[in-house]
């Protein structure tokens, strides 16, 4: 267990270093932000001065090291557009995005688990076919289109829910459902197939043979093993949620990091873009680390295999 964790931590560190390098070099390939910060009629001397002041005249590796040493201290430079530290903007908007991501994950799990289990237990029934067909449609809908359709139905036609903004429970229902629906469909299909596999195993037959009620067999014995692949996939899909917030926040004017990064890209606010990319990637990597640790807890065979 100890050695496995050390290995996982090292993996996390080099991935974060790699991401910081990629995002740094990509963004600096894009040309000179100094030209955007000054008026069009700025003299050559003014340009040189500002470039020197911001350190853009130094070689890229030096700039990268400078960036990293500041980033470790939580300083990602100043937004070119808002003129405040990028980190402050992110911290201000991050809770909204996390709230949305977790709400989506919650809705997806709470709906898909029972559906998947019931479909597996009543395999081949009309209920099973119906829900699996619905899941296929759910997987095929882009979440931002679903968001627009929800607005059309529940805000424009029925007037039940507000079209945008954040603050009340009514406002999070539509964005979280839109973002969570494809996950819901994916989890339902996965739960069903994993449950089918587990239910055919010997220990389930044993549990039934010793007279346990069907509820205990499915709810406790089968579900516990079926959860293992679900946890992994849910962790991996967290990256999808983070990416998904970028568009869904734009659809619902949700004041999160996703909308901030889209605006920052249009404003050519490179320090801000870079900071957001890095912060989101770090969150994603840490969630994956957490999932892997949880995985070892759920399935003790893993750490043994890894150490061999």
């Amino acid at each position: 267990m100890g050695r496995y964790l050390v290995k996982r931590l090292w993996h996390t560190v080099y991935v974060i270093i790699g991401i910081s390098m990629i995002s740094f070099f990509f963004i600096h390939l894009s040309g000179d932000p100094v030209m955007l910060m000054l008026p069009a009629d700025a003299s050559k001397q003014e340009i040189e001065q500002l470039r020197h002041r911001l350190g853009f005249d130094q070689p890229l590796p030096v700039q990268y090291l400078h960036f990293v040493s500041n980033a470790v201290k939580g300083d990602f430079g100043e937004s070119l557009y808002y003129h405040v530290p990028a980190m402050n903007l992110i911290l201000e908007r991050l809770p909204a995005s996390l709230e949305l991501a977790f709400a989506s994950m919650f809705i997806a799990l709470i709906v898909s688990l029972p559906i998947g289990i019931i479909s597996a237990v009543y395999r081949g029934s009309a209920l099973d076919m119906g829900t699996m067909l619905a899941a296929l449609f759910g997987l095929s809908m882009p979440h931002f289109w679903l968001g627009i359709m929800l607005i059309l139905i529940f805000s424009v036609k029925l007037g039940w829910l507000p079209t945008s903004g954040r603050g009340s429970l009514a406002q999070i229902i539509m964005p979280a459902t839109a973002l969570g629906l494809s996950l819901m469909a994916m989890f339902a299909r996965l739960t069903r197939s994993v449950m089918l596999e587990v239910l055919s195993l010997d220990y389930i037959r044993t549990a039934r043979a010793k007279g346990l009620g069907e509820f205990m067999v499915i709810g406790k014995h089968a579900l516990k093993n079926a959860l293992i692949p679900l946890v992994t996939v849910a962790g991996m899909q967290f990256g999808f949620l983070i990416g998904g917030t970028v568009i869904i926040e734009t659809v619902f004017a949700w004041p999160g990091v996703g909308r901030l990064v889209v605006q920052a890209i249009f404003n050519r606010d490179y320090p801000l873009v870079q900071a957001i990319v890095l912060v989101l990637a770090v969150i994603f990597v840490l969630v994956n680390l957490l999932v892997d640790v949880l995985y070892v807890y759920l399935d003790p065979r893993i750490s043994y295999l890894e150490e061999k």
């Binding site: 080099y14 990629i22 607005i151 059309l152 990416g243 568009i247 734009t250 889209v262």
Partner: protein
Amino acid sequence: MQASAFSIRDSLGPSLRLMRVTIREVARRRSALVGGILLCCIVLASVSFPLFYHIDPLEQDLLARFTPPFWQHGGSLAHLLGTDNLGRDVLSRILYGSRVSLLVGFSAVVVAELVGILLGLVSGYYGGRLDNLIMRVADIFMAYPFMLLTISVIAVMGSSIFNLILILGVSDWVTYARTIRGSVLSLKEKEFVEAARAVGTRHPVIIYRHILPNVISPLLVLGTLRVANIIIWESGLSFLGMGVPPPMPTWGRMLAEGRAYITDAWWLATFPGIAIMLTILSINLLGDGLRDALDPRLRNIVS
């Protein structure tokens, strides 16, 4: 002359047989058949619609703005699915938009497959330091939120159709490389590969003749299913204003315009979305069928 004809038939024989078996297996599954036929119809419509639908997708008619679909009050048969805020024909724009989505979707998958095949084969077959390096880079790509990677690169490089294909393709190589590497690792230990090595076949020839044919099916399945993802991403980028630049109509941009006029014209955002959904649905159905047909291990679990 005849000898060369024979050798062509000999070398094509096995792959033709595989294709026939695949098509038969897929056709036996009703849902896959439905998906395949639907996808064929969509592709056919996308390619051939100028023959029977003559309305220019860019022609503005400000007097006919916000014409609803023909079955609604005020609609007309001249614009079957209505018109948008500039009086442009919605159906015509959807048909043109399908070309962007299908072109980007399929081409990006080809790019991703090529990069993934190359790196996966090298990584799995040669192993060692190179393998280590490639897999570490793969880890980094996996952790990079895909959407952020593509939008930040597109912001830098600009969003021509060529750039989109390249960026979406190159960002998506990891899944292929990992799948192939896994297959190669187990294939490498098989007797027929050992036999080839024992008689002195060179490594590139072994890879090409003995390993590659055996990883084609998972690649086909994976590729088909990924086309759906790429199309969703392309329309997402377009929705954000980072897709193929105007005036070319794209499904994503039509959705963005539809979102803006949602209180006035419900059809603007509805129909392009249905077009995306049907395309994705057909690809998913076909991909699921292909997987069941080509990968018997999965068939036992999922069927």
